[in-house]
């Protein structure tokens, strides 16, 4: 244990995902020794994301404006929607360069243990979009784990109400129990092109 403010900094850093006590300590001492200008820049970047970043009013991903770059891009097919859990999954699917439609970010997955049900996810918004934009295909790209699979099943049932809508799920081949974000581009690209109806 260090004294006062140094320990406070270590504790705060240690709360970040993927940062253990050892790395938190390393980061803290790096920051202590760093050039004040570097620290100021980090400080400002942190402040800006909290003040400036908004969520796209259409798809729900992080954006700088009311509408994100993808939703504002007329070349992206508005009739095909890829449904993901988190903004980081949008980035993962974009990396494959296989997908030319739009996204819909749910903001998580069904997770009763954490009190997350359908009302905590952006499902109603999805249903509205499907009606308004004349959507022809929805690709469900939730994570290949317990919560993601349950969410996919639930969505598939809800989407049956739209006659003529094709609903697909990423093909298997993604490591089960995993996270979309960690699948490599090739695997994810293959899962995307091999998607099957549900």
């Amino acid at each position: 244990m260090y004294e006062g403010v140094v320990q406070d900094l270590i504790d705060e850093l240690g709360r970040l995902p993927g940062v253990g006590p050892k790395s938190a300590q390393r980061m803290a001492f790096y920051l202590l020794a760093a050039d004040p200008a570097d620290v100021t820049r980090l400080q400002e970047a942190l402040q800006r994301v909290k003040d400036g970043v908004v969520f796209c009013a259409v798809c729900g991903t992080v954006a700088e404006k009311q509408t994100c770059r993808i939703c504002a891009d007329p070349r992206r097919d508005v009739r095909v929607i890829c449904v993901v859990e988190e903004p980081k999954d949008v980035v993962a699917v974009e990396r494959t360069r296989e997908f030319t439609g739009r996204y819909h970010v749910l903001g998580g997955a069904l997770d009763p243990l954490s009190g997350v049900g359908p009302d905590q996810l952006r499902i109603r918004e999805l249903l509205t979009r499907i009606g308004v934009d004349d959507v022809t295909e929805v690709i469900i790209a939730t994570d290949p784990n317990t919560e993601g699979e349950a969410t996919a099943t639930y969505l598939a049932r809800m989407l049956r109400e739209f006659p003529g809508l094709s609903v697909t799920r990423l093909a298997s081949g993604l490591p089960m129990g995993g996270d979309l974000e960690f699948a490599d581009e090739l695997t994810l690209g293959r899962a995307l092109s091999g998607r099957r109806a549900v």
Partner: protein
Amino acid sequence: MYVRQLEVTDFRSWEHAEIEFEPGVSVLVGANGQGKTNLIEALSYLSTLGSHRVSTDAPLVRHGAQRAIVRTAVVHADRELTVELEISPGRANRARLNRSPVPRPREVLGVLRSVLFAPEDLALVRGDPAQRRRFLDDLLVLRAPRLAGVQADYDKVLRQRVALLKSAGAARRSGGGTADLRTLDVWDGHLARHGAELLGARLDLLVELTPHVRAAYRAVAPESATAELEYRSSLGDALPAAVPDAGVNSTGKADVDLLEVALLTQLAQLRAAEVERGVCLVGPHRDDLELSLGGLPAKGYASHGESWSFALALRLGSYQLLRSGGAEPVLLLDDVFAELDTHRRARLAEVALAAEQVVVTAAVPADVPEELQGTRFDVDAGQVRRVR
């Protein structure tokens, strides 16, 4: 297969220990509390990713240390594999196979196949159903490591479903409606699918295991009645209907699709009660393996000696089953000879002598049958010393 080397760091009482084993018999001798069982436990943990004494990892880490490390070199078919496990309570454990990290510890299941017989096994006969479910599930994974994934998926879905039942029940009681129940069908479906796979695997296992256990019991307790094993499912009477011919269909395997339908039907029937009580009443987590002798349940009826014989027969039966398919398992016998009478000692010694490798612990050399001498290690004051 055999364990050529075991190295533990900050595991239980051991700050560090390294033992070189050979095929055949190894005997660990030392007074009580010197750490013999701790070493056996380390081997068994590598084999099943669980302890036979505790259900959480914290007690496995040496008092005052952050994490324990268990490393073994296992030889099978002239090939040596090293497995290393880092046990860190409160965080994800990590494993390495031949020094390379693997994504999940369960990837190393199957590298070391072992069967442990220990004083704690009396609970297989006298303890609650959870002990016998664990017995079946550990054996399932030793035979087909893939099933560890099925078990993990089932447990995860079960926990989610129970959470949902609890919040739905609470909402209903406070007049808050039934919003939570909209997703219950989804969880039912997933529970039934994973549950059917697990249930089917257990039923298939039992068909193969039963004759081995019966034979082992006859050998260790020839004077006693026949040992019987019967699977008690939460499906009750719906089970035989789902799996014709006493649990198997024409392929000789349990029909997983039929089991899934049976589970779904049962879930629908019991839904009101489940929401009311906030408990999941259907599924393999509610099942039991009923042990009986001459028609009477072993639990509550069998004598102390019969119970011991039954526990031994379950382990020896498992050993014979594993031996009959795949790599020969390592036999671990923790402080058990002192508990057995002359006849059962002799039978166990006979099996042990034929094993590719057996590791035995005892407080004094006299507790180990004459014929099982082999390599001897003295365990004393935090040291393991080979003496023969």
